[in-house]
Amino acid sequence: MRRKPLSAALLATALLTVAGCSGGGAPSTETATAPSDADKVSGSIKVLTNRTDLVQDGTMKKYAAAFNKIYPKVKVSFEGITDYEGEVKIRMNTENYGDVLLIPGVIAKGDYPKFFAPLGSTGSMKKKYRFTGKTDVGGKTYGIANFGTANGFVYNKALWKKAGITDWPTTPAQFLDDLKTVKDKTGATPYYTNFKDGWTLAGPWTNSVGSPSCDARAWDALAAADKPWAEGGDLDVVDTLLHDVVRGKLSEKDPTTTNWESSKTQLAKGQIGSMLLGSWAINQMRDAAKKAGEKPDDIGFMPFPVQKNGQFCATMVSDYQLAVNAHSEHKSAARAWLDWFTEKSGFAAKEGGISALKADKLPEVLKPYEDNDVKLVERSEAKTEDVNAIDDAAEIGLSKQDYRQKLIDIARGAQDGDLQGYFDDLNKRWADAAAAAGS
C-alpha cells in the first residue's frame, strides 16, 4: 500500500516522458509563394520580433497599417520577445512559433527545412537578394535578410581631430599608434571593449573575419582550416589587434564593469575614442549624441585598419533573416508580409542597414565607405554549418564572447598565459574538433 503512490508517480512520469518526446507531425515542404492577387490573400499572421522597442512604441503597427493598404484582408499581429534567442529556441520545439520569424542563431543550417518553408530556389533568389547564401540549403532559400550590416570602427571624429589624426590608419600598428596619440593628447579612453556586456566582443570582431584578407570566403575557409589562428590569418590579425589594444592599456581601465548604454553617450561626448561595431550602430550613436547635446555628425565610421592592394575592405554580413514557419496555415499571407517588409517598408534604410535587395542603394551611414572607396565584401556562408559544428564541438564559441574575454584577461594580466600560448591552445582545440567532426 505504501509503495503505491511512488509507483503511480513513476508510471505517470514515464508515460508523460514518452508523450513529451514524440514531437509534432512532420512539417510540410510546400513553398511559401507570394500571392498573385493582393486582394484575395487573407488570414491573420503573427510576426515574432526581437525589436520590443518598435512593438511598444507603435512603429510596427504603422508598418502593419501601411501593409494593409495593399493587402486589406491580412491581419498582422506582432510579438516582441526580449530574450529572443533563448525563448524562440524553446518554442521551436513546438509548432507554435509565429508565422513569420527571425531565424534564431542556434538553429543548425541543415535543419532549416524542418522548421521553415522554402521561399524559392536560390538560383533565382540570388539575382534579386543579397545574403541568400546564409539560408541556402540544398538549392532552396529559407530566409531573407532583415538588413545587412558592414563592419568597422565607430569613432568620435572630433576627438580624433583634436588629437591631430584625420586619416584612417592603414595598418594595425598605425591604429595602435593613433589610439596612443588619442590617449596622450586628449585623455580619453581610446578604445572601449564593453567586456561586461560581451556581445560587442563576439559579433563585431568575428564578423571582421574577411576584412583583413579582403576575402569573401575567409569564413568558409575555417571549415577546412587546420590552424585558424595561424600567423597572418584573419582571426590572428583580428584577435592580435584586440590583444595589443588591451595590453597597451588603450582600453577602459576596469573592463569587468562596463555598460553598453552609457558607453554610447561616452563615445558621443568624446570620452571614448572608438568601438568596433557594425554600421547599424551609427544611428544609435548619433541618437545618443543628440541626446547628450553633441553634434551627431561627429560620429564617424572607419574600416578595419588593414589594406589589401592599397584598398580597405569591410565585410558585409546579414542581420537576422526573416523566414516563414513551415507549420504556418497562412503561408502566402506570411510571404506577402515578408516581401513587403523587406522591399517596401523602408525598415532597412531607417535602421541604417544595407537593404537585402541588390537594387537598393547603400544606406546614408555608409557614405564614408563609398567616398573612400572601401570595398564591401559579402561574406559567403556556404560552409557556415560546418564551421559552426566545429566551433560548437571545440567549445570555443567564435560568435560568443567567452574566448575573447579570456583573451582580454590574458592581455591585461588577470589570467596566466600569453597570446601565442592561447592561440596554440585554440588551434589545437579547433583541430581536434575538426578531426572528430570529420570522422
Binding site: 512520469t13 508523460l16 516522458t17 576596469d254 569587468t256 564593469t257 564541438a393 567567452d402
Partner: protein, 324 residues
Amino acid sequence: MTHTTSTAPPASHEPPPAAAARRRTKRRTGPARSWRDHPLRRITPWLFLLAPLALLVTFTYVPVANMIYYSFTDWDGVSPDRNFTGVENYTQLFTRPELFRVFFVSFYYLAASAVQIVIALYFATVLSFDLRFRNLFKGILFFPYLINGVAIGFVFLYFFQDGGTLDSILSWFGVGGDHAWLGDPESANTSLAGVSVWRFTGLNFVLFLGAIQSIPGELYEAAQLDGAGRWQQFRHIIAPSIKPVLSLSVILAISGSLAVFEIPYIMTGGATDTSTFVIQTVKLAFQFNKTGLASASAVVLLLIILLVTWIQRRIVPDDKVDLV
C-alpha cells in the same frame, strides 16, 4: 451558534421521536455497514491528493526524467532529431578533467558560507535576547534575502564599478580605491562570494532565530539562577538545541556552494575564471548546443550533492535533541 440555540426547543434527554425511530431502525439492520468502508470514502484522500500530485509529477518528476533521458542522447536543444548515444556523454564528462576544474571556484563560496553561518549565528543569538530595536535589526538582516537575485547582481555591479560605491566609501577613509574588484580571478571570486554572504545571511539568521526562540524560557532562567553567563548559556543551551538546524544549514551551504549560479552569471557571466559548474552547464547547453552533455552534467551535479549530503549525514548523525 447562539441563534440556533435560542430557537431550538428546550433541551430534553429524549431525542425527537422521528430521529429516535430512525436510529432504532438502523440498529435493527444488524452489523453496521460503516461509511468508512464505502469505496468513495477510500478514494477521497486520493482525490484530494490528485491536484498536488499532478503538479508535482508534471513540474518535478517529468522534467527530471526528461533530463535524464536527454543525458543519454546527443540532442542539440532544438533539432527534432536526437540519437541515443548511451553513456557517451558521461564518458566524455569524466574524461575531461577541465570540466571539473570549475569546482575550485566553489571553495570561495564554501569559505564564504562558513563566514555566513558564523555571522548569522552571532546575530541570531544576540537578537534572541531582549534588545532595543530588536525587530528593526531582524528586518535589516533579513531584508537582502527578499531581494531578487538578478537585482542584487546589478546593484553590486555598480557597487564594484571603477569609481563606484565601494571605491567612494573607501576613499572617505583615505584608502586609495584603485582596485578593479572584479578584475582578477581571486578578487572577483572573493567579491562575488561576499555578495553571496550579504544575500544569504538573512536566511540562515531566520532559521537560527526560529530554532533559538523555540527554546523554553525557563531554561535560561534556571541557568541564570545557577550563575551561568551569556557564553555558558550559548554553549550549553542554545548550541545543542539548534544542532539540527545548524546541520541543515551546513548541508544547504555545501550544496549551495556547488551550485552557485545567479550572482556570478549576472555580474561577470563567468568571465575571469568566475565560472561555476552550473554556469558551465548552462553554457554547454545554450552556447554550444550540447544539451545532452549539459544534461549529463546536471545529473552528475545532482549525484555529487546527494553524495556529499549522505557522507555528511554519516559523519554527523541527526540524533534527537532532548534538553529537558
